[in-house]
């Protein structure tokens, strides 16, 4: 799966979450390990994608609490919270009254939060709604986990000053006359890292 595929899944997840609850909007935050922040990745509905890329501290707000504890939650009366209006929601063009949020977990690790804004809960009830949202989060978690891993890998390759970057730069200078020397280097690396050196037959 490539990054584009992951993003399609991300978009599908938020759209499915919004449609499932006839909600005004749904959005996904993913945890950015390097920044210790929750990053707004995608949304469906009112204010769609206006805040993509915005990062919020992982120890703040409802999304932070859900990400920290792994517990889903429903909160009504959010519109009355002045802090909420000012800091985030107003920027999306939607100040919701109800927020339902569930953690996105992969192999015991929380990688993000799935939020639904102004869901209609009357027909299903809060208990069923929380469970349904949790299932939606679980369904998307494997793909989202791969998306994050891919980003970390690309970030590592992009670091020219890092060890892998330096090695790649050295190998770029190697011409056919240095085949033997490079072979010795690869053998030494294989022994150092404890991996089998695969030689062409």
């Amino acid at each position: 799966m490539n990054a584009t595929t992951h993003e399609v899944i991300l978009r599908s997840t938020v759209r499915l979450a919004r449609l499932s609850f006839d909600a005004a909007a749904a959005s996904v935050f993913l945890y950015d390990l390097d920044r210790d922040a929750l990053v707004f990745e995608a949304s469906s509905g009112v204010g769609e994608d206006q805040l993509v890329g915005v990062a919020i501290p992982a120890d703040r707000g409802i999304a932070g609490w859900v990400a920290s504890t792994g517990e889903p939650i429903v909160i009504r009366g959010v519109a009355e919270d002045a802090r909420f209006n000012r800091d985030f929601a107003a920027g999306t063009g939607l100040v919701p009254d109800v927020i339902m949020a569930a953690p996105i977990e992969h192999e015991g690790e929380i990688i993000g939060v799935l939020e639904v804004l102004d869901p209609r809960l009357e027909s299903v009830g809060e208990m069923v709604a929380i469970d349904l949202l949790t299932e939606l989060a679980a369904q998307s978690c494997a793909a989202l986990s791969l998306l994050l891993a891919g980003r970390r890998e690309r970030a590592r390759h992009a670091d020219a000053a890092g060890a892998l970057g330096q090695l790649a730069a050295i190998l770029d200078t190697a011409d056919p006359q240095r085949e033997a020397a490079v072979g010795e280097l690869v053998g030494a690396l294989a022994r150092l890292l404890g991996v089998r050196c695969i030689s062409p037959t």
Binding site: R60, W65, S68, G70, I73, I75, R76, R83, M127, D131
Partner: protein, 269 residues
């Protein structure tokens, strides 16, 4: 067809009085009477507490966990409530035990991966401080923490510190609520803060209000919330009342008394 349902909530089952190790009924008048939780020390391990909220009405101390060398440590905190959840829990406890002495330990930190150690540090501190009751409306799924958490909850049990822990909202295994040394709480949907159910099928011990619960929220606001997190502080409030009335009780006695006064303990017709 699979029936989707909220995890760890009441299905309305009754429990036979034969489960109660006492002449039945045990009255609430005997259990707590007019007690208000006066003098009972309660620790809220959560997102911090807004002590100025009129439904919280002050707390005895606010702390958090910070990185330390070699271990994280508990230090005084002035950040208040960074998410709202802790204020909600504190307000619920106050609604049932208005004169209990509340202390907050904030365990929300930016580094999600460090949270397990933060929770352990906070709980260890609460046990060391000898709080009568600790509200733990959160849990961890990390197996690596299970053994240390288990040892810690056992120690709390033997030291007379009662941990009241919310069951996870999803059908997953997490801790510490699954340990028998803690009182674990799931949700029912009755809008009565004193309505309590004994679960005939543990590991969840009791069901308390957890659906559409009116709560305090930072900044003087109120909200209506749902989740097992909000069921646990109801049980903490009732326990604070019982401990004022019966100060020598510990976790085992609290469990028995709560079971005996539960609203769903009755003979089947």
């Amino acid at each position: 067809m699979r029936t989707i349902r909220f995890a760890h909530h009441s299905v309305g089952a009754t429990v036979s009085p034969g489960r109660i190790p006492a002449p039945h009924p045990v009255t609430r008048e005997w259990a707590w009477g007019a007690a208000t939780g006066r003098g009972v020390r309660v620790c809220v391990v959560d997102s911090g507490v807004d002590a100025t909220h009129e439904l919280v009405r002050g707390i005895a101390g606010q702390f958090t966990v910070e990185d330390g060398d070699p271990q994280p440590r508990v230090v005084p905190d002035d950040a208040g409530d960074v998410a709202g959840h802790g204020t909600a829990c504190a307000g619920i406890i106050r609604s049932l035990a208005p004169e209990a002495e509340l202390t907050s330990v904030r365990v929300l930190t930016r580094n999600l991966r460090g949270n397990g150690d933060v929770l352990l540090t906070a709980l260890h501190w609460a046990v060391q401080q000898g709080f009568a009751l600790v509200n733990v409306s959160l849990s961890t799924r990390r197996e690596a923490l299970k053994e240390r958490l288990h040892d810690l909850t056992d120690r709390a049990f033997y030291d007379g510190v009662t941990l009241v822990s919310a069951a996870h909202n999803s059908p997953v295994v997490s801790y510490p609520w699954r340990f028998p040394s803690v009182l674990s709480v799931g949700s029912h949907a009755y809008a009565d803060g004193e309505y309590l159910e004994l679960n005939p099928r543990p590991p969840v011990d009791f069901f308390a209000p957890g659906v559409n619960v009116p709560v305090a929220w930072p900044g003087g606001a109120t909200k209506v919330v749902s989740g097992n997190s909000f069921a646990a502080p109801h049980v903490v409030g009732l326990c604070a009342r019982i401990l004022q009335q019966h100060p020598e009780f510990r976790t085992a006695q609290l469990r028995h008394v709560l079971a005996a006064v539960s609203d769903n303990v009755r003979s089947q017709p």
